[in-house]
Assembly symmetry: C2
Homo-oligomer: 205 residues x 2
């Protein structure tokens, strides 16, 4: 029956509409400043309707978390066009950092805020699909680097995690306002300058 089909599609569309509205508000005024009422108002629906489509705020946060992460992972996946794994690794870092610095609220939701992970716990899902898939992209690349003779004497997983930690750490210090007000000469560029040091080091390994 096509009406039930249409119904299902309409349900999906409203869900999407809510998420789009939430996203807009996140970017405009920050995640912390976005309320369910805000979201409902901005699409001319009632509060209750939002709760028909999402069990709670964390589910909304988790849904956008997944969207953002899928987006970032897409950008990383494209880099598999770069055949040289070392070049690809360097490009991945650059893409990752750009994503973080250009979309701080989105980055926050992907990698910093506890809410999306708490949602996974409440639904008893102990798999973080996007996280796993993305980390695998990194591991695969590092593995290929090792196969090509780099990173001698290193271990795959810990090294991969170290690299992730490196770029994540710099992004999150920046996003968390920990680079301002510290005695740094070029605070606006410190993350990218430091990433150049990273490249410098990687090149030697």
């Amino acid at each position: 029956m096509s009406s039930t089909e249409r119904k299902a599609r309409e349900k999906e569309e409203l869900k999407t509409l809510i998420l789009k509205a939430a996203h807009k508000l996140f970017v405009e005024k920050g995640i912390g400043q976005t309320t369910i009422r805000n979201i409902a108002d901005s699409i001319d629906y009632s509060i209750g309707t939002v709760y028909v489509y999402f069990r709670d705020k964390n589910e909304i946060l988790h849904a956008l978390h997944t969207q953002y992460f899928t987006d970032l992972r897409g950008q990383l996946k494209v880099l598999f066009n770069v055949k040289d794994p070392m070049e690809r690794l360097k490009a991945m870092g650059k893409v990752y950092i750009n994503y973080g610095l250009d979309n701080p609220e989105m980055y926050d939701l992907i990698f910093i805020l506890k809410a999306p992970m708490e949602f996974l716990e409440t639904i008893q899902k102990d798999e973080w699909d996007e996280g796993k898939a993305s980390f695998d992209l990194l591991k695969t690349t590092v593995k290929q680097c090792m196969d090509a003779g780099h990173f001698k004497g290193h271990t795959l997983e810990p090294l991969s995690f170290l690299i992730w930690g490196c770029v994540h750490g710099m992004c999150s210090l920046e996003i968390g306002s920990r680079t301002k007000n510290v005695n740094i000469k070029n605070p606006e560029n410190i993350v990218r300058d430091a990433y150049d040091e990273f490249l410098n080091i990687i090149n030697k390994l």
Copy 2:
């Protein structure tokens, strides 16, 4: 007059009492689960009293932020007993990571949560004293390493920030539950295993 003196001391004591109570609750049930009412209740004072001593919740968060940070910085300062700067640098990383893994709520407040930095903004103080002082400890050590012939071809500030980002990134991924549920063989030890890789790399530079 000694009565005004005593009054001042008593005021300080109550302030300290409030902070101690807040700290206890933070550790017990998490920062997010700690409310002003909780704090007031736990020391048998009224909500209003807390607001006599602190302008708002962010001021409490900032006060503890500073305490925690001073504590961590103290632990780092002690390491200046280690004269060899490379050895000291490695020890600093270890101490930093231990602090983060052993005191996740406290680490959260120092390096991750926005609240303490927001408080600095509201009082129009654009100096992050503890942050600056701690980063200086790191910079000084890295500088001494460079003077001793290490880190050839690198630049002091970006390299120092990269190192900070490295250890911070790993700690905050762990604290933010981003290491669970990713396909890692030893998730419980990944941070320390990765830090060994870090040492491995540092040793070559």
